[in-house]
């Protein structure tokens, strides 16, 4: 079954906000040989009791099913939703992109940032830090362009995702 074509899936996992839960999730992926493309985690409830983990993974459909089943049987997991299967959803990530340069390159960096709606959040006479957000592809593309005008380093959040419409997963 592992020879079927791989698919990219975005999973939302609601878990108890307790010590060790993230280690359980991450350990499950490494122990069973599943991929993690990106992972984000933060407390999302009023009472700090529940965290939401967003994992982007890839694998053939039977492996994705297995990942869901394995996650679901962990004791501190409230709910696992495969947003890719669920239907329309929004995926966003944010990156902080540092660019250094002077003269034309500096001007070009600003122009490109403007096109991508990236905001300068730090500046010196020789550098910018841009905040860019959007789909992973958009962020990838922005970073690729910045390479040509003096990219220094990047920090990315990884994907966060939520279903469209009025309902909670």
């Amino acid at each position: 079954m592992k020879h079927l074509p791989s698919e990219r899936h975005t999973l939302s996992i609601l878990v108890d906000n307790e010590a060790g839960v993230l280690a359980r999730i991450v350990g499950l992926f490494s122990a069973r040989g599943y991929n993690i493309e990106s992972l984000t985690v933060a407390d999302v409830s009023d009472d700090h009791a529940v965290s939401r983990i967003t994992v982007v993974t890839n694998g053939p459909p039977p492996v994705i099913d297995q990942i869901m089943a394995q996650l679901d049987r962990l004791v501190p997991v409230h709910k696992v939703v495969d947003l890719t299967d669920w239907g329309p959803h929004v995926e966003r990530e944010m990156a902080l992109v540092k660019v250094a340069g002077t003269g034309d390159k500096r001007v070009e960096a600003l122009r490109l940032a403007d096109i991508f709606r990236a905001r300068p959040v730090d500046t010196s006479t020789a550098s910018f830090v841009f905040e860019v957000s959007g789909s992973s592809e958009k962020v990838n593309q922005f970073i690729a362009l910045m390479r040509e005008v003096g990219l220094v380093e990047v920090a990315r959040t990884g994907v966060v995702a939520i279903a469209r419409g009025a309902e909670a997963v």
Binding site: M1, D16, A19, G20, A23, R24, G27, L28, A31, P62, D65, Q66, A69, Q70, D72, R73, V75, P76, V77, H78
Partner: protein
């Protein structure tokens, strides 16, 4: 509002409230307060083992034979790490355990303190769940929750790590009512529509087979009864995994014996040629399926399991029913009867099975003078069956021969390490079972190599006057390793000879056991009889043919139809692909 007690007293009180009668353990610095609390009461019996791994296997043997949760108490650091093999064994074989580990005081956690280890980190992926209890007030609720998690759903080991200061500080404890967990809710009832669909598939099948596993044992004795009723109603042949032996009596006319790598020819052929497979509480383990792409190619498959992650893990099934196997079989029988189904005409199917059975794949031929291991186990069975013995095993050839030649007629009489394959399991497991059933005849069928892995437990049996019997099939080799070296590695017996063996009789006597040697076929019956007749623990050194192989065998990477039935089919050297498989 409950009574104020120390953490250690809460542990003992909660265990008492949970109905625990026996705890297997070993003291140490980080659990001294709990040992002190145990000393001051007489409701819970503590069994002092000689090594923490054995404490866990003993608790497994106790749990598997009695259906109760096995309880272990060990100290921090090496106490916990020594327990890890047993914990992993229990996870693989779905045995309900609660393992209490001491931990250094909370203020020392993370400082590399004496006998500190990250127990929750180490056991996170080899336990069903684990806890580090940081407040004394949490101890009571955690203990009750741990027992609930260990025994419900797919059973497994739960570890509770308790820092020493948490054991000493005081808090109020009240016995909780029914436990309900906010996220953990195992599904017991199967989906009725799916059960109805399964019944129709079963009724329409021409060549059905019931493939049953350890889940039937875990579901309780009623499930074994229901399985027999289901077999009767459908007329289908039944085969069982290693872990499921005993759910259907060995001499049941519809029972084909164990399936898999060392299973019977008829069981494996029937799995290959069936048109409908009903898997009940088994998990399509690689030792059962053989080569996956050749596994039962013509069948539709129904899988009943309490653990959703068992579905479609390696074998795609047509219908998955999540639920307790006993509950699902009960509903299946109700639907079957309500719809007036009768066992279909399976004459052609049973004719075919009769042909496979005629190959007598568990048969063996006496050549030469030496006692054949199969013969020894067969006689052991015949001479003890009236006593309805509980059998444990170590791991290797003797384990497979025991599965093939010892007849099991009831559930919970067969204790073996199936998933993890842990050498050293059998003696402590026998000790645990003997504590659950003091009057029973409990025999560890062992190999001379495996028995040495937890041989220190001879002392435990002596201390508690447990009349366990150890029957060593002594062929002076790690037999299964040697067999694979013969079949796959050109007979190069690298490090598989059991050199420098102890004199088992003297060893037994040194521990206060009776020791018996069976030198050959002529001593066999007398030796077994002397073992049975002795009221205390006995170790039998049964010398058998040194180079006997365990057949039939599906070589790893081969399909059910490629069984080696006897030495005549051996291949001598495997290709590199096959050598890479375990």
């Amino acid at each position: 509002m409950g009574t104020e007690m120390t953490g250690a007293e809460i542990v003992v009180q909660a265990l008492t409230d949970l109905g625990v009668e026996v705890v297997f353990g070993y003291p140490g610095g980080a659990v001294l307060p709990i040992y002190d609390a145990l000393f001051q009461q007489n409701r819970i019996r503590h069994i002092l083992v000689r090594h923490e791994q054995a404490a866990v296997h003993a608790a497994e043997g106790y749990a598997r034979s009695s259906g109760k949760v096995g309880v272990v108490l060990v100290t921090s650091g090496p106490g916990a790490t020594n327990a890890v093999t047993g914990i992993t064994d229990a996870l693989m074989d779905s045995i309900p355990l609660v393992v209490l580990t001491g931990q250094v005081p909370t203020h020392l956690i993370g400082t590399d303190a004496f006998q500190e280890c990250d127990t929750v980190g180490i056991t996170r992926h080899c336990s069903k769940h684990n806890y580090l209890v940081q407040e004394t007030a949490r101890l009571g609720p955690v203990l009750h929750e741990a027992f609930y998690i260990a025994r419900s759903g797919r059973p497994g080991p739960v570890v509770i790590d308790i820092p020493k200061d948490v054991q000493i500080m005081k808090a109020r404890y009240t016995k909780p009512g029914t436990i309900s967990h906010k996220t953990y809710k195992p599904q017991v009832k199967g989906d009725l529509a799916a059960i109805e669909a399964a019944v129709e598939m079963l009724a329409a099948a021409e060549r059905p087979i019931l493939y049953t596993g350890g889940g039937v044992i875990n579901s309780g004795p009623v499930a074994s009864q229901l399985l027999r009723e289901l077999a009767k109603a459908t007329g289908a042949p039944v085969t069982s995994t290693l872990m499921g032996l005993g759910s259907v009596p060995d001499d049941h006319p519809q029972f084909l014996g164990m399936l898999g790598m060392h299973g019977s020819y008829e069981a494996n052929m029937a799995m290959n040629k069936c048109d409908l497979m009903l898997c009940l509480g088994a998990r399509f383990d690689d030792r059962v399926t053989g080569r996956l792409d050749a596994f039962s190619p013509t069948s539709r498959k129904i899988h009943v399991d309490i653990d959703r992650s068992s579905f479609n893990k390696t074998v795609r099934v047509d219908l998955a029913i999540q639920g307790d196997v006993g509950s699902v079989m009960e509903d299946m029988l109700k639907v079957w009867r309500a719809r007036g189904h009768r066992a279909a005409d399976q004459k052609a199917w049973w004719e075919q099975i009769k042909g496979w059975r005629a190959r007598n794949s568990f048969g063996f031929e006496q050549k030469g003078e030496a006692l054949l291991p199969q013969k020894a186990i067969q006689r052991l069975y015949e001479m003890t069956k009236a006593r309805k013995p509980i059998i444990s095993t170590e791991v290797g050839q003797h384990q497979m021969w025991a599965a093939q030649h010892f007849g099991f007629h009831e559930p919970n009489k067969w204790l073996t390490s199936g998933g993890l394959g842990t050498m050293g399991y059998g003696l402590p497991a026998a000790i645990g079972a003997q504590l659950a059933y003091p009057g029973a005849l409990v025999i560890d069928i062992a190999g001379e190599a495996s028995i040495q892995m937890n041989i220190q437990e001879l002392g435990t049996a002596t201390q508690y006057r447990l009349p366990v019997k150890v029957f060593i099939i002594n062929n002076e080799y790690m037999g299964m390793v040697r067999q694979w070296q013969e079949l796959n590695h050109g007979g190069r017996y690298s490090e598989s000879y059991s050199d420098s063996l102890p004199d088992f009789v003297k060893l037994a006597e040194a521990y206060g056991w009776k020791g018996i040697t069976i030198e050959g076929p002529d001593d066999l019956d007398a030796g077994i009889q002397a073992m049975i007749d002795h009221p205390g623990p006995v170790m039998v050194d049964c010398r058998v043919a040194k180079l006997a192989n365990c057949f039939p065998m599906i070589p790893s990477g081969a399909s059910h139809t490629d069984m080696i039935l006897s030495a005549a089919d051996e291949r001598g050297e495997a290709d590199d692909d096959a050598k890479g498989l375990v």
